[in-house]
């Protein structure tokens, strides 16, 4: 089948999913999976083939002829959408099941199909107006999915914040697309690099798409939306939806000419997001919020790569740009895979215990061995550790940055700090996930709910296993995925087809496989040796203390305490403390809470000021007719004065 037919099949299946979803959950799942498979096949056929798919129809919508296009870049994002969309659909059937959520489960299924189809539409549209329509549909369906559990007030608040922030972004996009349409004379989108006058538009697109992507100062909606949404929704929001922002930035920086400073700004934003995002993540106690802030970090990693590519373009098409962009695009896939896996794991824990607070968990490996094991794999991948996929893409980004530094051109001034910040962010990511995994799964249960946990069923484990497989596969055989990534890079900038990329991915893949084999051999050997020599269980050594309690374990706040101290200027923790006093201290308290600093300390006061100003302006509008007549007269006089003064000159 041609990509066109496959996409039609996907669209029909997803629309059938929207219509039938609320009533027939099995058939909905079949349709969604069929749609995802068809979409994935279409994307892969474009990625592995040589030709783009393009379709112009005589049929017009809103006065504009329908124009769809699937090239290497959009196919890359479409493939990710289909994989996470399909996995999430399977997961949702058990996680957000009919019996637990009688009212919202049917609604959730329909909106899930709507979200998949609207995101697909955004990726396919090559017309500004239709892009905006798709974008709005996507935003709205994501809103209804985020607020599935809308009985809880914090879910409603998170949904409102998400909708508000998204629309601030959409306003920028309206301005962007309409200005573009005015300048070019039509709404049609496509390569227009030669029209140099369009380059300032990049800034407004960066702002609009940056809000969706969750770039650091614009990320304010992201933590609460991800933390309060059902976990399968968090997975697709973090794995795919925020990538739509990346798609927009990459897409339009490829199609339109960009200002000379674009690479510097994008790389700077990326490095800031990476380091500050992960600093926030490490300080969190709510594990879904930790995962959400970690998404800010990964968006930063992707933008560092993208910024590298933009810098390379302005520095004579240097070959390192290709490496950096390839790393960024591969990281889009990788982050989609392991972050969805981690959110599914988080959902599994939430499903079993009902709490998102790490300080209330612990020791879950005993009752949830599958979830624990798969969460560890996801943690290794997200920390960028070999031999998994996260390392491969970060390695490509690093190579791009190193080559930019060794070229000793002006780009090195951006690449050097970016490489150092990327390294620090990597170390902090490892620390964050060592903390998250350890607090949730290791030690002894801190509360009764943690002790009573149970493993999730096959419906939730299956998608996690599939995503783990994907993480392992990209880690072990990155060379298999290189042609697709390279195709996407070429469709971003056709001039880069000729650039040879000396990235020894095949060697890296075989080293990873060898490492994995050795690891398994060593673990088996050590385990056997321990058993041969005799294995005995005993109490944990606590300096001779014989009755350790669960509450004596290190908590997530204490684990993150050192780094939280370094970032105090940013995190601004709220403290409540009562020291022990007297010879027989009765009660001592120390509570620490990390607020949403950027939202509460920066965006919040600004919004309050805007509201105050608007309220004071509103006093002019009071319904007294005589004053309105006075305004009109004053206005007339003022106009007259202007005209007279103009005539005098």
């Amino acid at each position: 089948m041609t990509p066109g037919e496959l996409l039609l099949l996907a669209a029909v299946s997803l629309v059938a999913g929207i219509v039938l979803g609320p009533w027939l959950s099995r058939i909905w799942l079949a349709f969604t999976l069929a749609g995802a498979t068809a979409g994935l096949t279409a994307a892969l056929s474009v990625l592995l083939g040589a030709r783009d798919w393009e379709w112009r129809s005589a049929f017009s919508l809103g006065g504009e002829a329908v124009h769809l296009r699937l090239d290497g870049l959009s196919a890359m994002f479409l493939a990710l959408l289909c994989v996470v969309g399909g996995a999430g659909a399977v997961y949702a059937r058990e996680y957000w099941s009919e019996e637990h959520y009688r009212a919202s489960a049917p609604r959730g299924r329909a909106w899930w199909s709507a979200l998949l189809s609207s995101m697909g539409l955004v990726l396919l549209c090559a017309n500004g107006l239709h892009f905006l329509i798709g974008w709005e549909l996507f935003t709205v369906s994501a809103f209804f999915l985020v607020t599935l559990g809308r009985q809880r007030p914090e879910v409603r608040a998170a949904g409102r914040l998400y909708l508000l922030a998204s629309h601030v972004g959409t306003v920028c996009l309206f301005a962007f697309f309409s200005t573009l349409a005015v300048r070019t004379g039509n709404w049609d989108l496509g390569p227009m690099r030669e029209q140099a006058g369009l380059s300032p538009l990049f800034w407004i697109a960066l702002a609009g798409f940056g809000v969706k992507a969750g770039v650091f100062p614009l990320h304010v909606w992201l933590p609460s939306a991800h933390a309060n949404a059902p976990s399968h929704v968090s997975a697709i929001m973090s794995g795919v939806a925020i990538k739509m922002g990346i798609y927009g930035i990459v897409r339009f920086s490829g199609w339109l000419p960009v200002p000379a400073a674009a690479g510097w700004v994008v790389m700077g934003l990326g490095a800031t997001s990476a380091l500050l995002g992960i600093a926030f993540a490490f300080a969190q106690n709510d594990f879904k919020r930790l995962l959400a802030y970690c998404s800010v970090e990964n968006i930063g990693v992707i933008l560092i790569g993208g910024g590298g590519a933009l810098l390379a373009v302005t520095h004579g098409d240097a070959p390192w740009g290709r490496l950096a962009l390839a790393g960024a695009l591969l990281h889009v896939w990788n982050h989609g895979a392991f972050k969805a896996l981690l959110f599914f794991g988080a959902g599994s824990v939430l499903h079993a215990t009902g709490t998102q607070e790490m300080s209330k968990l612990g020791g879950l490996w005993r009752t949830m061995p599958w979830t624990a094991g798969l969460f560890v794999v996801g943690s290794l991948a997200v920390s960028g550790l070999p031999p998994l996929n996260g390392f491969v893409s970060e390695w490509l980004v690093y190579l791009g940055l190193f080559d930019a530094v060794t070229s000793k051109g002006p780009a090195a001034w951006a690449a050097t700090p970016a490489a150092i910040m990327l390294a620090m962010a990597g170390a902090l990511a490892m620390a964050s996930f060592a903390k998250a995994g350890a607090m949730i799964f290791l030690g002894t249960p801190r509360t009764q709910v943690a002790a009573d946990a149970h493993e999730s069923g096959m419906g939730m484990r299956g998608p996690m296993l599939a995503l783990t497989g994907l993480c392992v596969m990209i880690g072990f055989a990155p060379i298999l995925f290189w042609p697709m990534v390279s195709r996407a890079v070429e469709s971003w900038r056709p001039a880069w087809t000729a650039v040879e990329t000396p990235a020894p991915l095949a060697t890296l893949g075989s080293v990873h496989v060898g490492l994995a084999i050795l690891v398994m051999a060593a673990v088996a050997g050590l385990w056997r040796m321990a058993h041969v020599n005799g294995l005995r269980r005993g109490l944990t050594w606590d300096c001779g203390y014989a009755t350790p309690l669960a509450r004596m374990q290190y908590t997530s706040a204490s684990f993150g305490g050192i780094v939280a101290g370094w970032f105090r200027w940013l995190l601004q923790p709220e403290r409540k403390m009562r020291r022990p006093r007297g010879h027989f201290p009765a009660e001592a308290i120390r509570l620490e809470h990390i607020p949403e600093t950027v939202l509460e300390r920066i965006i919040g006061p600004i919004s309050v000021t805007i509201i105050q100003v608007s309220t004071s302006v509103r006093r002019l509008q009071h319904g007294r007719l005589q004053f309105y007549i006075l305004y009109v007269v004053a206005g007339l006089f003022a106009l007259g004065a202007v005209v007279l003064l103009g005539a005098a000159q």
């Binding site: 070999p386 090195a412 290791l442 030690g443 990235a503 050594w541 606590d542 300096c543 290190y554």
Partner: protein, 302 residues
């Protein structure tokens, strides 16, 4: 076949020689203090004994408690395999192998911290928290050092990066890398490997609950890591590429010995720093490496 023979040869050099270093350090410390001290081969005896001993597992520990040391040991040995040995080059060299080496060290750190958290002990949590937190600054320093080598040689693979001399930046780089070596290997002034006061330790407190073969893997892995950093430091600072093979091999061995004795001297003459001073010292190490980078940059431009 030759390739495998070479790998086995290298592996045996690394694995057999590594435990010598802690022995030398202890001998130097004993000598400065006027004691006789344990024999230089003490760690070999300890490892052989631990390997035959039984294991006491905490009641809370999962299989990850034994797997962690195994993975960490493999990661450290793998990192050692990537490190070139003077004139012998490295077993496997490719563009970007230096990044793999850095991330293998991070993998080892993750696994050690994970195994420490398995026991649910507050002491081990404390050690793990310190280990992963200070690693952030150490990682920044290492990347800055690697960037400076990279700028100097215009390459991203260890074999070519490490052969030429570093000129004026060598002193800065040596100071920076030596500080990172002390921090990463948990030596004085960052950590005291001899203390038994859990509250003040990093590495030793993380392995409090390990015993038998897993503890042997941890101790041996730690010695491999120490040798790895010593070899890296020597090769990054000395002009190995300009010497003949025999001279380079001799220089490497002598250099590693000097570094080891240096660690012993620092340990004898300095006290452990207060924990709040540790980030300051690591930041200094980072700045030293950063200045080395600037020197390399300027040197290349002129």
């Amino acid at each position: 076949m030759n390739f495998f023979l070479e790998i086995i040869l290298r592996l045996s050099v690394w694995l057999l020689l590594a435990p010598l270093l802690p022995g030398i350090i202890n001998k130097v410390k004993a000598w400065v203090a006027g004691r006789r001290g344990p024999p230089v081969l003490q760690l070999y005896y300890d490892l052989a004994k631990l390997w035959r001993k039984g294991v006491v597992l905490s009641t809370l520990a999962s299989p990850g408690f034994v797997a962690g040391p195994a993975v960490a040991w493999v990661a450290l040995t793998g990192a050692a395999m990537l490190m070139p040995l003077g004139p012998a080059g490295s077993a496997l060299s490719f563009r970007g192998d230096v990044l793999l080496l850095i991330y293998l060290l991070a993998l080892a750190r993750f696994c050690t911290a994970w195994a420490a958290m398995e026991t649910g002990s507050a002491f081990e949590g404390m050690g793990a928290a310190r280990e992963v937190s200070y690693a952030v600054l150490a990682e920044a320093a290492i990347i800055a050092a690697v960037l400076s080598l990279s700028v100097q040689t215009d390459s991203v693979s260890l074999v070519t990066m490490l052969s030429p001399s570093t000129g004026a930046g060598a002193v800065l780089l040596a100071a920076g890398l030596f500080t990172v070596l002390l921090a990463e290997n948990c030596r004085v002034p960052f950590d005291d490997p001899n203390t038994h006061l859990e509250l003040t330790m990093i590495h030793e407190v993380m392995v409090l609950d390990h015993s038998g073969p897993p503890l042997a893997a941890i101790l041996h892995g730690a010695s491999v890591k120490l040798l790895l950093f010593a070899v890296l430091l020597v090769q990054a600072v000395l002009p190995m590429g300009e010497l003949s093979s025999a001279a380079a091999a001799g220089t490497l061995v002598a250099g590693v010995l000097v570094v080891t004795v240096g660690v012993g001297m620092v340990e004898s003459l300095m006290a452990r720093l207060a924990f709040r001073r540790v980030p300051l010292l690591l930041t200094t190490a980072f700045l030293l490496c950063l200045f080395a980078l600037l020197v390399a940059w300027k040197g290349g431009a002129s």
